[in-house]
């Protein structure tokens, strides 16, 4: 992978990491409400996949969607303002953490109904096909979502119609408290691709390079009109399901062992070992990301609340 792309993936991962840290601290300071799901530990997936997408390509995201949103080009300022329910947010504060959407950047929304994004992304891919563009769509979803009916319905039709879509499963091993082994008939969700006669592959979701190879193959296939692919990225969420989750269902040791597999650290090690970047350069990038996120938080905090007078706008076409 060329250095520029790698650095850009790295920068995105840092932005996501610090964004999530900030969301957590704002929540703890009571500045942020509602149901907030952090993707810390899973940054490599969104950052690497979206590094191959253009603005005109589509994604659908999930309740754990801050990372996807940032990786698809959202400005942290407006994303943070949305989390805080402010007028300057991507959805004017109407959506909050679970519903950030940024249609101009091809982000067809985080979604608080698990699995709902899959057929929507397939619809976006169908539109690309019928409009004869070379756009592709990516549906991000969790392991839990692969047990919803819509997962199966979407994969089937996407396969039958050879839609330009990539189904990217972030298998972080849990649906809230339920371990994937207790809820899912297969060990590897990628195996489910077989049922729909499409390629399915398992990759290390904390490894930028493995994800990169898989997504490149899948995009090539999609653009060649050969249809969808399923990529399962094995990863782990560091924090609870939502902020405030007591996490009785897993051990501290388990969490700690996964923190050792930090996708960001891993890429840094690669940079250092291969003399692509120096420690000093890495520190500069960290500091820059911290600055960006601090500024985003300041922006969000100082933004005004939405004006209720406009609350009915956009229920219907005016």
């Amino acid at each position: 992978m060329d250095k520029k792309r790698l650095q850009s993936i790295y920068e995105t991962m840092l932005t996501i990491r610090y964004f999530e840290d900030k969301a957590l601290s704002l929540f703890e300071e009571n500045q942020l409400r509602g149901s907030v799901h952090l993707c810390t530990g899973q940054e490599a997936v969104a950052a690497t996949v979206c590094s191959h997408l253009r603005d005109e390509d589509y994604i659908t995201s999930t309740h754990r969607g801050h990372g996807h949103c940032i990786a698809k080009g959202a400005e942290p300022d407006k994303a943070m303002a949305e989390l805080m329910g402010k007028a300057a947010g991507y959805c004017q504060g109407r959506g909050g953490s679970m519903h950030i959407a940024d249609v101009t950047k091809g982000n067809l929304g985080a979604n608080a109904i698990v699995g709902a994004g899959l057929p929507i992304a397939a619809g976006a891919a169908l539109s690309a096909k019928l409009r004869k563009t070379d756009q592709v769509a990516v549906a991000f979803f969790g392991d839990g979502a692969s047990n919803e009916g819509v997962f199966h319905e979407a994969l089937n039709l996407a396969s039958v119609w050879k839609l330009p879509i990539i189904f990217v499963c972030e298998n972080n091993q849990f649906g809230i408290s339920t371990h994937v082994s207790k809820s899912t008939s297969v060990q590897d969700i990628a195996v489910r691709a077989k049922a729909y006669d499409i390629p399915g592959e398992v990759v290390d979701g904390n490894d930028v390079f493995s994800i990169d190879e898989a997504i490149k193959r899948a995009i090539k296939r999609a653009k060649a009109g050969e249809g969808p692919s399923l990529i399962e990225c094995k990863t782990y969420r560091w924090y609870g399901h939502w902020i405030g989750d007591p996490q009785v269902y897993r051990t501290k040791e388990d969490v700690e062992s996964w923190k050792k597999k930090c996708p960001i650290k891993r890429l840094e090690t690669y940079f250092l070992e291969n003399k692509i970047m120096t420690q000093q350069e890495l520190t500069v990038m960290h500091n820059k990301a911290v600055e960006v996120i601090d500024a985003a938080a300041d922006f969000a905090i100082s933004s005004s609340d939405p004006d209720p007078a406009f609350v009915l706008d956009n229920v219907y076409c005016e």
Binding site: S35, G85, G95, M98, A145, E148, I176, K182, Y249
Partner: protein
């Protein structure tokens, strides 16, 4: 009966424990209901006592409802939990096209005694997909029973009655109630289904209020009493099929009706009440019926917006004054 103050959530938990104890055919099923004890902690302690009768499922709402109804027509009494009432959307077919109609489809030869517990309503800043008031989605589906308690006492007694009921019940738990405490007897007891409760007696205006609106109606009634307006409050408790008599009788007495509900106005719960009253006791009405409802809009996240679209006690007070002054 030995009373103590416990929370709404604890009252439901106690009802589940007591029914599990009493009847082997009762079991719970849902996402994270067993080991974790439910997203709101309502099913805590059940799996520890009855591991075989507490089923953690995959994320598969259609299957949860379908499995429950299949088990119910074959002799069990499932209590399914949908983590949020909004997710019934994913399981709509199983509930509306199947569970609701199985008794009818099978010539009355079977019952489908299942309960679907579902946290409903707004107020906890969770936006479009976790805040809706779903009752009207089901109010024109004959075969379903919709139960909506507004106190911990009712929550326990109505849930026990729902579990013992022979037809599918959607048991709505307003999510702002879970930590609210009230007097609840320790023993098992039933609160009668299909029976409205007069929460406060009055002469001048009837308020029919559901769930979160009951407490707001009481606040409004206090305020109005100071101004010499006497309010009668009725909580239907079973929203469908409805205890028409209690409401009609009250409106015949006061001659005025305000309905307070969460959820959009159009085709909401209040629409049915208004239509019923106009059909049944029109000659007693001294003023047009008024509805106090959530605005016709998805529930937005931002606290200022959510608070703006959901009705307040002031809205209820004003509606009462308007019908009294008509």
């Amino acid at each position: 009966m030995s009373m103590r103050k416990i929370s709404f959530g604890k009252a439901i938990n106690e009802a589940l424990h007591q029914e599990m104890e009493r009847d082997d055919s009762v079991f719970i099923i849902g996402e994270d209901v067993a080991k974790m004890g439910g997203d709101f902690g309502v099913t805590r302690g059940i799996w520890q006592k009855w591991p075989d009768r507490a089923k953690d499922t995959a994320l598969s709402e259609s299957a949860i409802i379908g499995l429950a109804s299949g088990a119910a027509v074959c002799g069990l009494r499932p209590v399914a939990e949908l983590m949020f009432a909004d997710f019934i959307g994913v399981a709509f077919d199983q509930l509306v096209n199947n569970a609701a109609k199985l008794r009818y489809m099978f010539n009355g030869e079977v019952s489908c005694p299942m309960v679907v517990r579902a946290p409903t309503g707004s107020g906890i800043r969770t936006a479009y997909h976790h805040s809706q008031s779903v009752e009207p989605w089901f109010m024109n589906v004959p075969g379903l029973v919709i139960v909506a308690p507004s106190t911990p006492y009712e929550a326990k007694g109505l849930l026990i009655a729902s579990i013992r009921n022979e037809d599918p019940v959607i048991f709505l738990e307003h999510k702002s109630f879970y930590s609210i405490k009230g007097d609840v007897p320790e023993e098992s007891y039933e609160v009668e289904l299909f029976k409205a409760e007069v929460k406060r007696e009055g002469r001048d205006v009837t308020i029919v209020a559901t769930m979160s609106m009951v407490a707001l109606a009481e606040k409004a009634a206090e305020k109005l009493a100071e101004e010499g307006i006497s309010v009668e409050i009725i909580d239907p408790r079973t929203l469908f099929p409805l205890d028409k008599d209690t409401i009609n009788r009250s409106v015949a007495k006061t001659g005025r009706l305000v309905i307070a509900q969460e959820g959009p106005k159009v085709m909401g719960f209040g629409a049915e009440i208004a239509a019923m009253v106009v059909e049944d006791v029109f000659e007693y009405l001294k003023a047009p019926v008024k509805r106090v409802t959530t605005m016709d809009v998805p529930i937005p996240f931002s606290p200022v917006l959510e608070d703006y679209v959901v009705p307040t006690d002031v809205d209820i007070t004003e509606a009462c004054k308007a019908v009294v002054e008509f």
